[in-house]
Assembly symmetry: C2
Homo-oligomer: 150 residues x 2
């Protein structure tokens, strides 16, 4: 697994992870703990909802994004700290049997002014289902370590 320093991270280059298979049990278990809405918990109630079937909590979809984010290929980044998330949207719900894939592209990067040993990278993130529909998109800012001076 290749983990890049700030200097080596290339703007515009795509990295990917997945697939992550989402089961009905996963959806129900997560919902029981964090989001006990009928359309996340119960297939029959969900069939009668606006979603016409069981869907994952948005917080669950975000959890799946996090689980894929550290596993991207052909490389990941030497992240020191997360700085935050912007423009997080969940345009299409995740359903049982979905296979999710993560796509991350570096939008821009800049050296930190206060710390010469790190830089700030802004990532565009897309999580897609097996039909290539976007189920989650957001922008993620991270602090990334610079290559240590020899």
């Amino acid at each position: 697994m290749t983990i890049l320093y700030f200097e080596e991270a290339e703007v515009g280059k795509l990295r990917m992870a997945g697939p992550y298979l989402v089961s009905k049990n996963d959806i129900i278990q997560f919902a029981e703990k964090f989001d006990p809405q009928p359309f996340h918990l119960n297939e029959e109630a969900a069939a009668r909802s606006v979603f016409a079937g069981l869907t994952a909590s948005g917080a669950h979809t975000f959890g799946i994004l996090i689980s894929l984010l550290s596993k991207t290929e052909p490389y990941s980044l030497r992240v020191v700290a997360g700085l935050g998330w912007d423009e997080l949207r969940l345009p299409i719900p995740v359903r049982p049997g979905d296979e999710l894939r993560l796509e991350v592209t570096i939008l821009d990067k800049r050296q930190s002014k206060s710390n010469s040993d790190r830089g700030i990278i802004r990532n565009q993130i897309h999580l897609r289902n097996q039909k290539s529909e976007i189920v989650l998109e957001c922008i993620n800012n991270v602090l990334v370590a610079c290559r240590p001076v020899a």
Copy 2:
């Protein structure tokens, strides 16, 4: 429990939920499934990390926010759909034994132009620990049902 229609929701009015007690086991269980980093999984490894102790995954903290969001008092909103999350920041990590409280304030509201039966509400969200430190903040946009015409 009071659930308000769009017309009844008052800009600037605070609603609250909690406390939500976070246990060490909760933190480890969530991390095993979604974010298996040493500082979320193992107390000894966490003690040696920059966090100097076990901390919850940011995705876990977001899950706790979701679990509190539908339980606010003195009222909640008749939400039709979530529209997204902006400026999500996690300035201080959640630790075992933390008691989290949610504060939500309506920043603004506007009638939908395309659908007269709903409106858009923008909420400022703060999740705080028992020391009143903010562990998560964000802005959340939701579509809220209008009072049905009699």
